[in-house]
Symmetry: C2
Subunit: 512 residues, 2 copies
C-alpha cells in the first residue's frame, strides 16, 4: 500500500504500538523457564483415576444433538438416551492416538502467527462482556463502536498476541448477526490471529467462509486459522450450541478448546481435587468427540475453574484455590499431551482498583506458572466478566509484558555477567555512569507504561493521578498511535458482500 | 489476667483478629509445595564463580571498624587497608562449616515462635518508612502514636507472623532514643517475635538487655529471640553502624540477615546476572564475618535487589528482573545452606491503587515461589518504602492469607475428592445444596476481607467504594477488635525502668 503523509507522521510515535524502545515484540511468548508443579505423581494419578470413574459411572450428557450420540455409539461407548459413558482409559487413549501436541494458528500477517502448545504462551484480550467501562463514561452497555475501538486498542498492545473474539458484546447489533460484524472487525483492523464464532454450527460455518475469503479455501483446509472455545455446561453437560460449533471446527481442522467455566461449590464440588476430576472428565469427553469427528483435529484442554463466595454465591477470583486449580490443569494437560487453554486477569472488582490488580496479577501469574499455552482474558476483564475496562486493559497489558520478559529467563551472556563493570566500579562507587550501564540501559530493564515511579512531589505536581487515571490517558494515546494494518481491497469487498448476503437471508433477532 | 466484661464483649467479634471462620491461624507458613527454580546448574555455578571472583579480586570494604579487619586477618584473609579479599571458596566453606540451616526465633508467647529455614516462611510487616498514609489524613510524617497503632493493627492480622521492627519511623521521638520505645511497643502490645534495633552496637546491646528482661538472660543466651537486618552499602561496603550491630547480635547468638538494598544500574550492574553475583558476594562476606565472630551464629542470606527506571533513576518494583533476582536468590541461599531473607509487597505507587497491587502481588508471589524463609515488608509498603499505608496493610494482608492457603497445597483426602458428591449430583444439577457442600462450605475456600464480589447494583447501593475505601473501614474494625495480649506487670515495670535509665544517660538527639 502507498504510504500517505498521515501514515508517515504516525510512525514517529508508534513506540506504544510496537513495544517500547529496546523491547521488541514477539508473536507469542516462548517460555525459557519451567512450570510450577503443584501435584506429585500420586495426586495426578488420583485425579486421572477419578475422572475415569466419573466418565465410566456418571458419564456425560450430550443434549439436543443426536448425531453426537451416534458418533459415540459407533466408537463403542455406552449411550443411554443422551447420557454417554466411557470405558476407563478410552478417552485418554483416543485423544493421545491422534491429537497433535502442538500446532500453529496462522494470522493473515505471517509474522503474527502463533504457536499453540509446547513452551509457547499466547495472550488474548478480554472475551464476552456485555458492558464496557472507562473513567469518562462509566459503565455502560457495549456497542459495536466499543468493539471496534477495543480491537484497534488491542492491536496497539505489543504484549497481546491474539485479536481474540467477543472482546465485548456489541449489544446494539442484532444478536443473530453480530458475529459477522465482529469477525469482519478482527480481520479488517488487526492482522493478528482471531477467534471464530462459537455459538452453533451455522455461525461457525460463517466464520469458516470468511476465513476462506481471507486465506483461500485450500489454505484453510490445510492450516488452522481460527480458534474456537467450546464450553460445557458444567457439571457434565454439552448442549447443541457448543457441540455444533465444536463439530464444525473440528471437521474443518480448526482448533477447538473445551473450557467449562466452573464455579466450585455451584457447578462442581467446593473442593479443588473434586473440581479438577470433573474438569478433566469433561475435557476428556469433549476432546474425544473432536478426535472421533476428525482424527488429528487440533484441540486444547480448557480449564476455567473459579471459586465462589460461599456466603453470597458470587464468583470470586484471584483465590488460592483458583491458583491451585490452574497449576493442576497444566500438569494434567501435559500428561494428556494437548495444549492448555486457560484464563488470565480475572477480577470481581467493579473498577480498576487495588482489588482488580491483586486478583488479576494472581490469576495471570498462576496461569503462566502453569505453563498455559493460550490465556484468554489476559487483559481488561472486570466485574466477573460482565465488563471490559479500557483502563484495566492498559494496566493488565503491562503485566503481560512483564511476564513475557520474566519468562525469557536470565541472560547469562558475558555482557550480562558484567564482571568487568563490577571490577571497574569497585566498592562504594556507583554504576550509573559506567560504560556497561551506558551500553545497556536502553534494553536492560523492562519498562511498563502505567506505573508512576516518580517522587511524591512530582506525582503531586502532575495532578496526583492514580493508576486508573493515568491509564485513561494512555489508552487514548495508544488509539491515536493505532496503525491500520490495511486489507487487500478485493478481499475486503468480498467479505463485505458475503456479510451483506448472510444478513439479507434472515430477519434481525435480538436473541441467539 | 482477669477477664473484664469489656474484654469478653470484644471476643465476640474477634474473627478478624484470629483468622476468619474456618481459617485458623498458623504461627508461620509451612510450605507443602516446592520452589520455582529459574536457574539451572550451569547458571548457578556461573554466578557462584563470579561471586568468588569479586571477593578474590575486588574484595569488600569494611570501614570505621578496625576490629573486623583483625578478625578477617586472623582468619587468613587478605586485608589491605579497609579492603578485605577472600580466597576462592573460603567464605562458602566457612559458612557451611558452622551456620545452622534452620533455627527457631522464639516469641514470648511460645505459640507464636517462628521457624527460620527449611520449608518455613515468616511474614513481617512494613519496615522503615518515615511517613504513614491513610485515606482520612493523607500522607504525613509518622509519629509514635502511628507506630503503636500499627503494631496493634499488625497483631490483629492472622497472616502476619512477626511484629517486625521499624513499622514506621516515629519521627516525633528523638532519633537516638526511639529504638527503646519501639522495642517496648513490640514487647508490650504484641506477643509475636520482633526485631532488634539495627543501627550500631550500643542500640543492639539495648535490644539484648530488654530481651533478657522479657525472656531471662539464660534463655536469651541459648535461644534466638531477636532478629536483625544488617545492610551493606552496595556495592561492596559495610560501615560500622551495620557491622557493630552484626557483631553484637552474632556474639549473642541472635539471628542476623544481611540484606543489601540494591538498585540495579545504580548500586550494581543493570543486569540480573551481574547484580546477583554482587549480592551473593556481599552476603558471603558478611555471613562469613558472623561465623568468624561466633561459629554457629544463626544467619540468613538477604536479597533485596530492586530495579530502577533507567530514564529517571527512580526505584521500580514488581518488575520482571526483580522477580528473576529473588528466585535466583532462593536457589543460591539453598545451595549455600542458609535461610533466605527477602522482601514482599513493594511498590512505588503513592496510593493503594492498581499499580500498588500489581507490584505488590508480583513481589510477594515471587518471594513465596522463591522459597523465601523470612519476607520483610509483606504488608503496607508504598512509595518505594517512604510510606506505610494503613489501607494497603489490609489489602496486602489478604494476599498473605491467600499465599498461606495456596502453599498448604491441594487436599487429596477422600472428602476433598468429593466423588460421592459428583455421583449424587450428576449432570446438569448444582452442588449448592449438596450434602458435601453443606459439610464443607465453612472451610472449603479462603475468604479474603477486602474484595467486593457482589453484583454491581449491590456495590453501588453500598456507596461504590473502591478497595482502598473499604480497607479504610476494615483497619478501624480490626483495631477495635485488637486484644491486648497482656504483659507480666513485673516485667513491664523492669522494662520501663531500664528505658528510663537509658534515656537519662544522654541528651536527646535528632540524628543517629
Amino acid at each position: 500500500m502507498t504510504e500517505t503523509p498521515v501514515k508517515r507522521r504516525r510512525k514517529r510515535d508508534r513506540g506504544a504500538a510496537r513495544g517500547q524502545v529496546g523491547q521488541p515484540r514477539a508473536p507469542f511468548i516462548l517460555r525459557k523457564l519451567g512450570t510450577f508443579n503443584i501435584l506429585g505423581e500420586e495426586g495426578l494419578c488420583l485425579i486421572e483415576e477419578n475422572a475415569d470413574t466419573i466418565l465410566a459411572e456418571t458419564g456425560m450428557e450430550f443434549v439436543e444433538d443426536p448425531e453426537i450420540l451416534d458418533i459415540f455409539a459407533n466408537a463403542g461407548c455406552n449411550v443411554d438416551g443422551t447420557r454417554v459413558r466411557f470405558e476407563r482409559g478410552f478417552c485418554r487413549k483416543t485423544i493421545q492416538a491422534t491429537a497433535p501436541k502442538q500446532f500453529m494458528q496462522h494470522a493473515r500477517n505471517p509474522a503474527n502467527s502463533v504457536q499453540m502448545g509446547g513452551d509457547a504462551t499466547v495472550l488474548c484480550p478480554s472475551w464476552g462482556p456485555p458492558f464496557v467501562h472507562d473513567l469518562d463514561r462509566g459503565r455502560r452497555y457495549a456497542t459495536f463502536d466499543d468493539f471496534q475501538t477495543l480491537v484497534k486498542l488491542h492491536h496497539t498492545i505489543p504484549w497481546l498476541h491474539h485479536s481474540g473474539g467477543v472482546v465485548c458484546e456489541p449489544v446494539d447489533l442484532p444478536a443473530n448477526k453480530r458475529h459477522l460484524d465482529m469477525l469482519y472487525t478482527h480481520i479488517r483492523y488487526s492482522d493478528r490471529p482471531f477467534m471464530g464464532a462459537f455459538i452453533g454450527a451455522e455461525r461457525a460455518g460463517h466464520a469458516l467462509d470468511m476465513a476462506r475469503i481471507v486465506f483461500g479455501a485450500e489454505y484453510v483446509a490445510e492450516n488452522p486459522v481460527l480458534y474456537c472455545v467450546s464450553n460445557t455446561n458444567a457439571p457434565l453437560v454439552m448442549d447443541a450450541h457448543m457441540s455444533g460449533a465444536l463439530k464444525t471446527y473440528a471437521r474443518a481442522g480448526q482448533p477447538v478448546a473445551t473450557a467449562p467455566w466452573v464455579l466450585t461449590g455451584a457447578m462442581s464440588p467446593c473442593t479443588v481435587a473434586g473440581t479438577m476430576a470433573q474438569v478433566l472428565a469433561e475435557a476428556l469427553a469433549c476432546l474425544t468427540l473432536a478426535q472421533l469427528v476428525k482424527p488429528g483435529a487440533p484441540v486444547l484442554m480448557g480449564s476455567f475453574a473459579s471459586t465462589m463466595s460461599m456466603q453470597s454465591g458470587a464468583p470470586t477470583f484471584g483465590t488460592p484455590e483458583a491458583g491451585q486449580m490452574v497449576l493442576a490443569a497444566g500438569q494434567l494437560a501435559r500428561r494428556l499431551g494437548v495444549p492448555l487453554h486457560t484464563v488470565g486477569t480475572l477480577s470481581a472488582s467493579k473498577v480498576p482498583d487495588a482489588q482488580s490488580q491483586q486478583e488479576a496479577t494472581w490469576g495471570l501469574m498462576m496461569s503462566m506458572f502453569a505453563g498455559a499455552n493460550l490465556i484468554n482474558h489476559a487483559t481488561g476483564w472486570l466485574e466477573g466478566g460482565l465488563v471490559t475496562s479500557f483502563e484495566k486493559t492498559m494496566i493488565d497489558a503491562d503485566l503481560c509484558g512483564k511476564l513475557a520478559r520474566f519468562f525469557d529467563g536470565i541472560d547469562l551472556s558475558e555482557n550480562a555477567q558484567a564482571m568487568s563493570a563490577i571490577a571497574a566500579t569497585g566498592p562504594g562507587a556507583h554504576f550509573l555512569g559506567s560504560e556497561h550501564t551506558q551500553a545497556n540501559f536502553m534494553s536492560a530493564l523492562f519498562r511498563p507504561e502505567t506505573p508512576d515511579n516518580n517522587a511524591y512531589e512530582h506525582w503531586e505536581a502532575a495532578g496526583s493521578l492514580d493508576t486508573a487515571q493515568r491509564a485513561n490517558g494512555l489508552w487514548k494515546k495508544h488509539l491515536e498511535a493505532y496503525e491500520d494494518p490495511g486489507l487487500d481491497p478485493a478481499i475486503d469487498e468480498e467479505l463485505q458482500a458475503y456479510i451483506a448476503q448472510r444478513k439479507s437471508e434472515t430477519p434481525d433477532m435480538d436473541y441467539f
